[in-house]
Amino acid sequence: MSTARRLIGFAAALALFVAIEHGTRATAGEYAVRVLAMCGINAMLAVALNLVNGTTGQFSIGHAGFMAVGAYAGAVTSHLLAPSLGASHPAASLLVACVVGAALAGVAGVAVGVPSLRLRGDYLAIVTLGFGEIIRVSIESFAPIGGSQGWPIGAESIPATATLPWIWGGALVAVLVVGNLTYSSYGRALGAIREDEIAAEAAGIPTTRYKVLAFAVSATVTGMAGALYAHDATGGQHIDPGAFRLDRSVDILVMVIFGGLGSITGAVLGGVAVAVSLELLREFQGYRLIIYALLLIVLMLARPQGLLGNRELDLRRLLPSRKAAA
């Protein structure tokens, strides 16, 4: 596919998202738009974590930390740009905030990954868990960005510029970047690491370097999700450190396992399913999390490999057979 066609396709998708936002607002109201936005954020987070926990077979349980880095770095960037670029070109300002948030989260990913990815399994989980907590506690005790009180979204603070097309556009970027990476020679190398590290080394793959690479890309995408979350224009009130607790990391993990470890479309479905089911369960109030937990247990018993297993949902497969272009 030529570059021009791809850009046209992306623009068309954004236009579609704008239409969906207006259509939903007109027919189902503001609340439905907000749920759709949550779906988009979740999809980004799940797709990112899947690269590490699914494709590469490592185990991170600190991705809320990368999300926090992206959120606060993005928010600070917007804050600094508010009088200049933010006033004249708010969209450009948001784009810069996303890039900065993603980049800093990526740097944090490398910083966490280099020392810890030499370790296996459980150790990596502990290190990432510790990292997530360090980030959260650091933010709590830093007053200029709101500390434990949080930082409001809206006029005079973080501009609420990330509308539904922004968030879904971000999710589309996440799927394209992670998808192309996963189904490339690099992704094969990551899969080989998951299957057998010794054999992967013997096939010429520097395993530690590749694990760090996967971790960095994953953290970058998570950072972008964080930055968009911080500018949520669909009803976000504020960002606060409490939103980036271990619970959040576990939530992302649940989305990935729910959709099927190793499947990108599964991760998207998992993100959407978690957002929607938590909203649908809202009327049960106090029992909400209990019912949610029971649902997860039932799913794991009935379908331990997740909704899609490690396969991708391919709409073309539903159409009359047509040989895919080599």
Partner: protein, 511 residues
């Protein structure tokens, strides 16, 4: 002739245990070089030092004039030393083609950004690699299976896929770790020719660790012999074969009469202990067992033989209830085993020493044995059985405190059998006890099997070494592609030309 690979004084010590003690040799460029020795000689450890899995404690390894000892494994692979593994290490969940493509990764010129944005350069690169990988698969006659999952391939194909993957690296030196393990004589013969073809076609130096002497002697131009970490001989195959030190270390003294056949033993009674009727098992769409019926009488040793992929292991697993059975019945001591869980079988009196041994690598030998007695409550019984295990395999007695994973292959096999006996089974099922083990230890293991049977344990033996199996058994069943092709007394089958026809292919003798 210059050396492709040169080792000088290579030593490898694991926590006080000297696995390799100062080994030196040169592998001439474009030669086929054999590294042999009994189990526990340190051959695989030498491979692991050369390929960077371990950094040798002492000594130097030079590849075409460059020091490589201590470099990371991927770097050594990158320089041009490729290998296969003793216990096949494929990327099981990935396709056959992907397995080969993984090894192309180092030569791709496309960057990560090219891959993410899918540039022309990435597409061209990927297409070229795919063509190359498919050519390799074609060479190994695996191209029809390119999209299949690697773990679903039969054993022999998995071995060949490992070689194809190694060749994708464009290596100068190819290290093969027991490529003939688990192959029958006919397949081994093909392998031996393939190794030569590989060398010529890919311009390689081949280093071979192998127990199959037929392959080693026919294929290798030069042989280095190790025993307990030390060099004991080096030279041309003919000279090494006659070296008295090699004969003693490798074959043991008086090995020819190691197995006294005991066909006429009358201890077997007519009482049927295990009765299998019309057993069927499917793997996906493939019929692995197409209706197997067999019986094992109390006190008998019954062998299940047949080529790779005939369904021997599948039959054992189906009896042991570790895989799902489609139809058919299994009765043990008169009781229908339908609905019995695998772990309950141990309590009923069935124990298994599985293929690949499956010992607990991080438990000591004693702990491994004690795990085998998990269902036994009386500590006195456990103590007696521990003593019996040591009497049966004195080597285990010397290694009680050693971790299971540090034992050699042969010792692990002994441990696996001894562990199975700890539950005091009425029926012992053994899956390929001679696989990848030096002849001298195979003798010891078969002697032990004979003693176990004489003491009254009924045995169902799966074995690819037909001669051994028929020498040890009273009766045998020959499986061919999931069906019983022949059955009868071991003596009759040993002299039955149809066994060779059905099992080994034409013109190959049971030797």
């Amino acid at each position: 002739m210059s050396a492709a690979l040169s080792l000088s004084g290579v030593e490898m010590v694991f926590g006080g245990l000297r696995a390799v003690g100062g080994v030196s040799f040169d592998v001439p460029e474009r030669s086929i070089f054999g590294l042999i020795g009994p189990n526990g000689a340190g051959k695989t450890t030498v491979f692991n030092c050369v390929t960077g899995v371990y950094a040798p404690t002492k000594g130097a390894i030079t590849f075409r004039g460059q020091r490589i000892d201590g470099l990371p494994a991927w770097k050594i692979a990158d320089l041009g030393i490729a290998r296969t593994f003793q216990n096949i290490r494929l990327f099981g969940q990935m396709s056959v083609l992907e397995n080969v493509l993984v090894a192309s990764h180092r030569v791709t010129r496309a960057s990560l950004l090219d891959a993410i944005v899918r540039t022309r350069r990435y597409a061209d690169d990927e297409a070229a690699m795919r063509r190359k990988a498919l050519d390799l698969l074609k060479f190994f006659e695996l191209d029809d299976n390119a999209d299949q999952r690697a773990s679903s391939l039969p054993y022999g194909d998995q071995r060949r896929l490992e070689i194809a993957r190694a060749l994708m690296l464009d290596p100068k030196v190819l290290l093969l770790d027991e490529p003939a393990a688990g192959l029958n004589s006919a397949e081994a013969k093909v392998l031996e020719q393939q190794i030569r073809t590989l060398r010529d076609r890919f311009d390689l130096t081949v280093v071979l660790v192998e127990h199959n002497m037929q392959v080693v002697m026919a294929a290798c131009e030069e042989i280095h012999v190790m025993d307990r970490g030390e060099t004991i001989a080096h030279g041309a195959p003919a000279a090494v074969q006659k070296d008295p030190k090699v004969l003693e270390a490798y074959l043991g003294a008086g090995h020819d009469n190691a197995i006294a056949a005991t066909h006429t033993d009358a201890s077997a009674t007519a009482d049927v202990l295990l009765d299998v009727k019309d057993l069927r098992v499917n793997y996906g769409g493939i019929q692995a067992l197409k209706g197997i019926s067999l019986e094992v009488r109390r006190g008998e040793l019954v062998a299940l033989i047949g080529a790779n992929g005939a369904g021997k292991t599948t039959t054992l697993k189906a009896i042991a209830r570790t895989l799902a059975v489609k139809s058919g019945s299994v009765r043990f001591a008169g009781r229908d085993l339908a609905g019995v869980e695998a772990h309950e079988l141990v309590t009923l009196g069935v124990a298994m020493a599985p293929e690949g041994r499956a010992i607990f690598p991080n438990l000591t030998v004693r702990e491994n044995l004690e795990m085998g007695a998990y269902t036994v409550d009386d500590p006195k019984v456990v103590a007696t059985r521990l003593d019996e295990a040591v009497t049966l395999f004195p080597r285990l007695g010397e290694r009680m405190k050693q971790l299971g994973g540090t034992l050699s292959g042969g010792e692990q096999q002994m441990l696996s059998i001894a562990r199975a006996l700890m539950s005091g089974p009425a029926l012992l099922m053994l899956d390929e006890p001679s696989l990848g083990i030096a002849p001298v230890l195979v003798d010891q293991i078969f002697e032990a099997i004979d003693r176990i049977r004489r003491k009254g344990t009924t045995i169902l033996l799966v074995e690819q070494n037909t001669r051994r199996a028929l020498a040890a058994a009273q009766r045998a069943y020959v499986l061919v592609t999931g069906e019983v092709a022949l059955s009868g007394t071991a003596e009759a089958l040993a002299n039955d030309p149809r066994v060779q026809g059905a099992y080994l292919g034409e013109g190959v003798h049971l030797d």
